[in-house]
């Protein structure tokens, strides 16, 4: 099967061959330790990856995002867990001041027991390395891993699944309320060549459980690298989960991420996607409202500087009646950066009384910056309320003059207005330490852009 695919792949992209040969190395590194069932899934996913090939801009889903720069690299797979001298102190810089948290650290896609600090965790809450889970071949993995996320039509999910071997597993049992957030820090660090990691997360929250999660993507390397992550999140009945993702990677980073959530009855999911880093970033955030009364809120803020490309694709799938969804994405694009927003709202035939609201607003700070924004509504029910709107604008000259006329400098006036634009997304974040840091991050990024 792979052979026929390889022949075909030459016409699509030589990039594929590289991953196919990497896979052989990966298999050898497993030393027969891999659970056989998982490994057959990997092989199946690899075949799917090879058949799909890398998408081009002819593919509707990738129309505005050209990933050919990514496919040119021969990224070395990071097969082994290694800290290369990294210590807990090095990690400190990526934590938030005044924010107590259970800390999970992944280095180049590998869960680090040493650097994670999980003491005080209620005994029935599980935060573990996915490798361990795969080896123990537990029921929960069989029940959930790969159940809601499909690699059938997605090259990058297929690739992640083919190389699936490490990441984070979190399970919050029924009725457990975790008052302290879980902070997952994904660090990419020095390697002897360009490299790729495929971290995978599985987060399962039980009935009436409540948890707040914070994910940071950061780097300690100047090298070009690629992170291809997949997260699966399951919310049990009446569960409440807030997921904050802060992307702060270097301008040499390629970052492709899929978050797939599955929501049961009356559950409440909030995502705050805060995207600042990376040279080419594609986030796919897909939520399935699969129980009556489930609610989902997707907030996004993306700030493009330099020649960054930041692409946010969201899908909210209203599968059951009486589900509200709220979506607010705001983009600030400066320099030569480019933004893409594609917000799909799907309302299935039975999902009556759906109430979906989507807003995308963009602030363009320079002539060379741009945004492609597109709502995509697929509505098959008749008694629903769906609204959407997108705006693209510039800083208000009258407002700038008003501020300056009171003694505020031009630079500061612009910063104040940019921050004000972002503030209605930031104000929705519940973690105060994060809100405060965002102010600094935005300021620093814009400051750097000016120089």
């Amino acid at each position: 099967m792979i052979e026929t695919v390889e022949r075909k792949s030459k016409s699509i992209s030589t990039g594929i061959d590289w991953y196919l040969s990497s896979f052989r190395l990966f298999e050898e590194s497993l030393n027969g330790k891999a659970a056989s069932q998982i490994h057959s899934i990997r092989k199946d996913a690899l075949a799917r990856f090879a058949a799909l090939g890398f998408p081009t801009t002819k593919n509707e889903e990738w129309k505005y995002t050209d990933i050919s720069p990514l496919t040119k690299y021969h990224f070395k797979p990071m097969l082994k867990y290694s800290l290369e001298g990294l210590t807990a102190r090095d990690v400190e810089q990526f934590t938030f001041h005044n924010l107590p948290s259970f800390r999970v650290v992944c280095v180049n896609g590998h869960f680090s027991e040493q650097l994670s600090t999980l003491s005080g965790l209620p005994h029935d809450v599980r935060i573990e390395s996915l490798t361990d889970m795969l080896q123990s071949d537990s029921d929960i993995i069989r029940e959930y891993l790969g159940k809601f996320v499909s690699y059938e039509n997605d090259t990058f999910i297929a690739l992640n699944t083919a190389f699936l071997h490490d990441g984070v597993f979190i399970s919050i049992p029924n009725n457990t309320i975790l008052k302290i957030p879980i902070h997952m820090i994904f660090i990419s660090m020095e390697s002897d060549s360009e490299f790729v990691s495929h971290p995978r997360s599985l987060i399962v929250t039980g009935k009436n459980a409540q948890v707040s999660i914070l994910e940071s993507y950061v780097n300690l390397t100047d090298r070009t690298y690629f992170t291809n992550t997949v997260s699966e999140i399951v919310l049990g009945e009446n569960a409440v989960l807030e997921h904050n993702r802060v992307q702060l990677e270097s301008t040499r980073a390629f970052h492709i991420a899929t978050i797939q959530t599955q929501q049961e009855r009356n559950s409440n999911f909030t995502a705050n996607s805060l995207i600042f880093g990376g040279s080419l970033v594609r986030n796919n955030l897909n939520s399935v409202l699969d129980g009556e009364g489930a609610e989902c809120t997707l907030n996004g803020l993306y700030l493009g500087t330099g020649s960054q490309l930041i692409d946010n694709h969201t899908t909210i799938d209203h599968a059951k009646p009486h589900c509200p969804s709220h979506e607010l994405y705001k983009g600030i694009l400066s320099g030569k950066s480019k933004g893409v927003f594609n917000g799909k709202i799907k309302v299935r035939k039975d999902a009556q009384k759906t109430d979906a609201k989507q807003t995308n607003k963009n602030l363009i700070l320079s002539d060379d910056a741009s945004i492609d924004t597109k709502p995509q509504l697929e509505i098959f029910a008749n008694d629903v309320k769906c609204t959407h709107g997108a705006t693209i604008g510039q800083l208000d000259e009258d407002a700038i003059f008003y501020l300056r006329s009171r003694g505020v400098s031009l630079e500061k006036a612009r910063d104040i207005l940019i921050y004000a634009f972002a503030s209605d997304v930031i104000d929705r974040i519940k973690i105060e330490a994060l809100r405060e840091q965002l102010h600094e991050i935005i300021h620093d990024r814009l400051e750097r852009e000016r120089q």
Binding site: F401, L403, S405, G407, S409, L417, F421, D424
Partner: protein, 255 residues
């Protein structure tokens, strides 16, 4: 304090100010009156540093130095203030946050200590009383959702906080009912001092009953066509602007 010499300004080749001459000394209050569209706001905005107007001729000296080359924020820091005819609404930025930032920039320029949040709030509350402004407006986004009267009060409140040397008030009286007008006028009078100056731009004579000017100028079609004492305002109220316009035209013809 301020000397405007043969000032010409406009937008996109369209001349709005056609040679303005005006001199304002410390301690004086000048009223500039004129029909709609005569260029009053343009003059006010050019003085405050609005860059969308191009200056084609003339000079403006402020405290003996060229004003027009300076950025709006520098003018504010040097003590110039303009109350906007149409104050801008800025959602997402609170009144006090931006004003504190402006005041501290001005104080720094004057060699004074910056105020911290508590000190500033104390000052702001005290000055809000001057214009009978509701304290709740302090922490609302700038002018956002304010009524017309609240916006005008907010302008004079800002003036009270920033304590300018030269204040240009552009139709601060327009759209106010008589009670609000009295409050705002009262506020202005309290800020009137021997060591500062005020230019009151207005369309109506009404406010001049409360804030009595030393000089009144009539601006028509981009030029000051007539100047006089405070009684000129009453005459304009009675006879309208046409007679000034006619006189001015006669003057041009005969010259």
């Amino acid at each position: 304090m301020l000397e405007i010499i043969n000032l010409h300004a406009g937008v996109q080749g369209n001349e709005i100010l056609k040679g303005i001459d005006l001199k304002v000394n410390v301690g004086e209050v000048h009223a500039i009156m004129g029909p709609n569209g005569s260029g009053k706001s343009t003059l006010a905005q050019v003085l405050a540093g609005r860059e969308s107007f191009a200056i084609t001729e003339g000079r403006v000296l402020y405290e003996g130095r060229d004003l027009l080359a300076r950025a709006p924020e520098d003018r504010a820091r040097q003590g110039l203030f303009m109350a906007f005819q149409y104050p801008v609404e800025i959602p997402g930025v609170t009144n006090t946050y931006f004003l504190k930032s402006g005041l501290n920039a001005i104080r720094k320029h004057r060699g004074l200590e910056e105020l911290d949040a508590i000190e500033f709030l104390q000052l702001a509350k005290e000055r809000a009383k001057l214009v009978d402004m509701d304290e709740s407006l302090l922490n609302r986004p700038i002018n956002h959702g304010f009524s017309g009267g609240e916006k005008k009060r907010n302008e004079i409140f800002q003036m009270a906080v920033l304590e300018p040397k030269l204040a240009i008030l552009d139709e601060t009286d327009s759209g106010l009912d008589i009670d609000a007008l009295r409050i705002v006028a009262n506020g202005i009078n309290k800020l009137r001092r021997k060591d500062n100056a005020i230019i009151l731009v207005t369309h109506y004579q009404r406010i001049l009953n409360y804030v009595v000017p030393d000089f009144v100028h009539v601006l028509i079609d981009g030029q000051i066509v007539h100047s006089g004492g405070k009684e000129l305002a009453l005459e304009l109220e009675e006879r309208g602007y046409d007679w000034v316009r006619d006189d001015a035209e006669k003057a041009i013809v005969s010259s």
